[in-house]
């Protein structure tokens, strides 16, 4: 059985618990009308909130990457993070990302609406912190601890699978390559996903510890073993994404070895990234 299926199986009960949780002890007056304005806080809140506690999610969550969360999100009205619409929802707690909807957050602060801002996760370890943070914000600490325990168990299972798959050999040199030539280094969540999949990150070799723009010529000259390309499914056109279809890239050794995709389920630090890691291990197997 593939590790992807195994991890999904491991996640299923956790998810079921998260989505349909009726158990757990409510703390003193947890927030009753919670609005989330950020795709990643949407996902964490959907996993942890009590039924009816979350009243609106960001419009991005309606076509999010994780299927069960997407269905749950579509049951709730979407918001576009505009101060006026958020205020009219009359929330007693607003969840926001650190770097998005900054003007709205400032406005809500002036209006006296409580806002909690979440830092983007830069590693798999940060995911545990984010779950705990969301648990305490929503007054759902017990559910958060259950999710964290499941996440740890899945990580251990994945690490054991990786040891078997690589059997002591050094992992391939891989590079993340997204629109405009963006690549992620070891200090980013994407970089940690690569490390957890047993890949050596070319970005670190080239000095992009935090990530940066990698020119096509520099990438080709570094001659990686594997390419992990940004997803290319959107409509419309941009030269930024056309770069990922450049003939020179397609003729490279790494492209011909088989390409893995860095898809939407890499964006947010939630336990679901483990499924992405499992898929990556399979896609880059020797």
């Amino acid at each position: 059985m593939s590790v992807f299926a195994r991890v999904s199986e491991g996640l299923a009960p956790v998810l079921a618990l998260a989505l349909w949780a009726g158990v757990g002890s409510a703390q003193t007056a947890p927030p009753a009308r919670v609005v989330s304005m950020n795709l990643c806080t949407d996902q964490l809140a959907l996993m942890l909130a009590a039924p009816g506690q979350l009243i609106s999610v960001s419009y991005l969550a309606h076509d999010g990457a994780v299927a069960p969360l997407r269905e749950a999100a579509r049951a709730l009205p979407a918001n576009r993070g505009l101060a006026e619409e958020i205020y009219l929802l009359d929330p007693d707690l607003v969840l926001a990302g650190r770097y998005s909807t900054v003007a709205t957050v400032a406005m809500l602060n002036r209006l006296g609406v409580p806002v909690i801002r979440f830092e983007p996760e830069a590693s798999l370890d940060d995911i545990e912190g984010a779950l705990a943070h969301m648990g305490s914000a929503l007054g759902r600490e017990a559910e958060a601890q259950a999710l964290i325990a499941g996440f740890r168990a899945d990580r251990a299972r994945l690490a054991a699978f990786l040891r078997d798959a690589r059997a002591g050999t050094e992992g391939p040199r891989a590079v993340l390559y997204s629109a405009r030539g963006w690549t992620g280094g070891s200090q980013t969540l994407s970089g940690d996903i690569l490390r957890a999949a047993g890949l050596r990150n070319l970005a670190d070799e080239l000095g992009f510890v935090w990530g940066g723009m990698l020119g096509l010529e520099a990438l080709l000259m570094a001659d990686p073993d594997r390419l992990i390309l940004g997803s290319d499914t959107q409509a419309g056109w941009s030269e930024a994404r056309a770069l990922l279809r450049h003939p020179a890239l397609r003729q490279s050794r790494a492209y011909r070895a088989g390409v893995a995709t860095n898809d939407r389920d890499w964006v947010c630090g939630t336990p679901h990234v483990l499924a992405a890691i499992a898929r990556l291990i399979e896609e880059t197997a020797p």
Partner: protein, 329 residues
């Protein structure tokens, strides 16, 4: 001196072409680069030379030649030293056509749709300019008409890019309005080169008619020049060259303005001699500019239009002053 002009320019273009091949972010010794290009060792350097640097240099030479030539032709036909495709909004309209073809998915469905859409945009712009400020219109009318065409096409371009479902599209207005040859490939060469070649051939074939036109329209007509045919050839030729060039590299300005001016005295103002020389000069200027953007900010994709506008805009202001003095005198 003027006899040595063409051989001298050919040598200059060849040297710049070679330099364009040898200069890049990967600092590899010249001998190794050339052997990777010609012999091909199957390694990454061969890939970089053959699939990145060679198509880039070919495009720079072809687009530069086409733009230098169309600038000379437009100045000759409109009998106006300020005429230039980038400045008058022809390139902007071509970019609008190309962006429309890309965003609607037409370019993906039909291979030739991209250069043809660029051509259509450029054709409409040249037609509008010729109607608003034809040969009798005078410098001021032409510039005003150009401002109008530029503003309209620029606004429509921004609108289309902002409406695109692709989140990166809106940031690329800089590429479309400033031009860049970074990361171009043979597929871009294959799309643009046939149109640039055909358009340039059409424009070069009009050199004698343009020479006759320097004497005035009536005199040219008595000399047997078919003015209607000349107009159509100029319209189609510039539209093909500017449209195809812009569709693959964005709007690159000022080459058509600067090159004919620098070379006009050496050719004694005769369009028949100015046209081929302007093509060579344009190739040299764009190759040099594309080398410069790689040396000034390596790996940062400084847009060609930035550099050319820094060189070209003061040039343009100087020309306006000179035109004023000529009028007052």
């Amino acid at each position: 001196m003027s006899r040595l002009l063409i051989p001298g320019l050919v040598i200059l273009v060849s040297l710049l072409f070679l330099a364009s091949l040898l200069i890049g972010p990967a600092a590899v010794p010249f001998r190794d680069s050339l052997s990777a290009l010609i012999l091909g060792d199957g390694g990454p350097m061969t890939l970089v030379m053959r699939e990145l640097r060679l198509p880039r240099a070919v495009l720079a030479a072809a687009i530069g030649a086409g733009l230098g030539l169309s600038g000379a032709v437009m100045q000759g036909y409109l009998r106006n030293p300020l005429a230039e495709p980038g400045l008058l909004g022809v390139s902007g309209a071509a970019a609008l056509g190309a962006v429309l073809a890309l965003q609607t998915g037409l370019a993906a469905a039909l291979v030739l749709a991209l250069p043809l859409a660029g051509l259509a945009g450029a054709f409409l712009a040249v037609l509008m300019l010729a109607l608003l400020a034809g040969p009798a219109g005078g410098a001021l009318t032409l510039i005003l008409a150009g401002i109008g065409v530029s503003a309209l096409s620029g606004a429509a371009l921004a609108l289309v890019l902002n409406l695109s479902p692709d989140p990166f599209a809106a940031q690329e207005i800089v590429f479309w309005l400033m031009g860049s040859l970074a990361d171009r490939s043979w597929s871009h060469v294959a799309l643009a080169l046939p149109f640039i070649t055909l358009g340039s051939a059409l424009l070069l074939s009009q050199s004698r008619a343009l020479s006759a036109l320097t004497l005035g329209e009536d005199a040219a007509a008595t000399l047997g020049v078919d003015l209607g045919r000349l107009r159509l050839a100029v319209l189609l030729g510039t539209a093909a060259v500017v449209g195809a060039a812009t569709a693959v590299a964005g709007a690159i300005g000022f080459i058509g303005l600067m090159v004919p001016h620098v070379l006009r005295r050496a050719t004694r103002g005769d369009p028949a001699r100015l046209l081929p020389v302007s093509a060579l000069g344009g190739a040299a200027l764009l190759l040099a500019a594309d080398i410069a953007v790689r040396l000034i900010l390596p790996g940062r994709d400084l847009k060609l239009g930035v550099l050319l506008a820094i060189l070209g805009a003061p040039f343009f202001l100087m020309l306006i002053l000179r035109t004023r003095f000529a009028q007052n005198a």
